[in-house]
């Protein structure tokens, strides 16, 4: 089981801020593929990965990051703080 979090317009497109999923995805990219085929709203949210950033257990990573042992994956647009 893994917690998946969505922020900003990704949260709006997916329609929820977080969910708990059963997944056997080996990497972040695999998880995204699982989500995209699940429902239209995920396909819409993840249609352009170049506009999406990922954190695994609150550390920024690439889409090729492994999920083994991860408790939390977060998807969000490029950050705009400051």
């Amino acid at each position: 089981m893994i917690d998946v979090l969505y922020f900003a317009w990704l949260r709006e497109r997916v329609g929820l801020p977080r969910e708990r999923l059963e997944t056997s995805a080996a990497t972040v990219a695999d998880l995204v593929e699982e989500l995209k085929v699940r429902e239209e709203r995920y396909a819409f949210a993840f249609q352009d990965l170049s506009a999406i950033r990922v954190a695994v257990d609150q550390e920024l990573v690439g889409f090729d990051a492994p999920l083994a042992g991860a408790r939390e994956v977060a998807f969000f647009p490029p950050m705009t703080g400051g």
Partner: protein
């Protein structure tokens, strides 16, 4: 003085004074404050979303890196989330060092990292509705110099 992530307004001047008073031996104190622009009346309100937990971690890490890299005697980061109005102070950083070059460098370093690496997202509301603020290529490029 650490990092703080909060929805409440803060008094940037009072924070700067307390920071300066505590920075014994510093000599040079630099602050940066980010203020919500009204964009000539086109911006009516702003709301900031963040990633509780990761935000504090990212800010603390960047702060620690700045302290070590620039030999700071202290550094402070405060960032608001939630609803803001034009003229509101969004965030501030303060850096203290023996000499001005390091205090300036560290403040710019912290701002560059905070802009592109701390999990905050701004949404603006104007006459035509709401929209998420797009990240700037400039901000990503600014990291290359460090």
């Amino acid at each position: 003085m650490g990092v703080r992530v909060q929805s409440e307004p803060f008094d940037a001047g009072a924070e700067a004074n307390a920071f300066t008073a505590a920075a014994t031996g510093a000599g040079a104190v630099v602050t940066f404050s980010g203020v919500v622009r009204d964009e000539g009346g086109r911006l009516q309100a702003m709301s900031i979303e963040h990633y509780p937990g990761m935000t504090e971690r990212a800010l603390a890490t960047h702060r620690e890196t700045a302290v070590e890299r620039f030999g700071l005697t202290d550094a402070l980061v405060i960032h608001r989330y939630g609803d803001l109005a034009p003229g509101d102070v969004i965030m501030m950083v303060a850096t203290a060092a023996p000499h001005r070059k390091d205090a300036f460098g560290a403040a710019e370093f912290l701002m560059d990292y905070l802009k592109s690496r701390a999990p905050f997202w701004k949404k603006e509301r104007g006459p035509d509705g709401e929209s998420w603020v797009a990240s700037k290529d400039d901000d990503e490029a600014a990291l290359d110099r460090w």
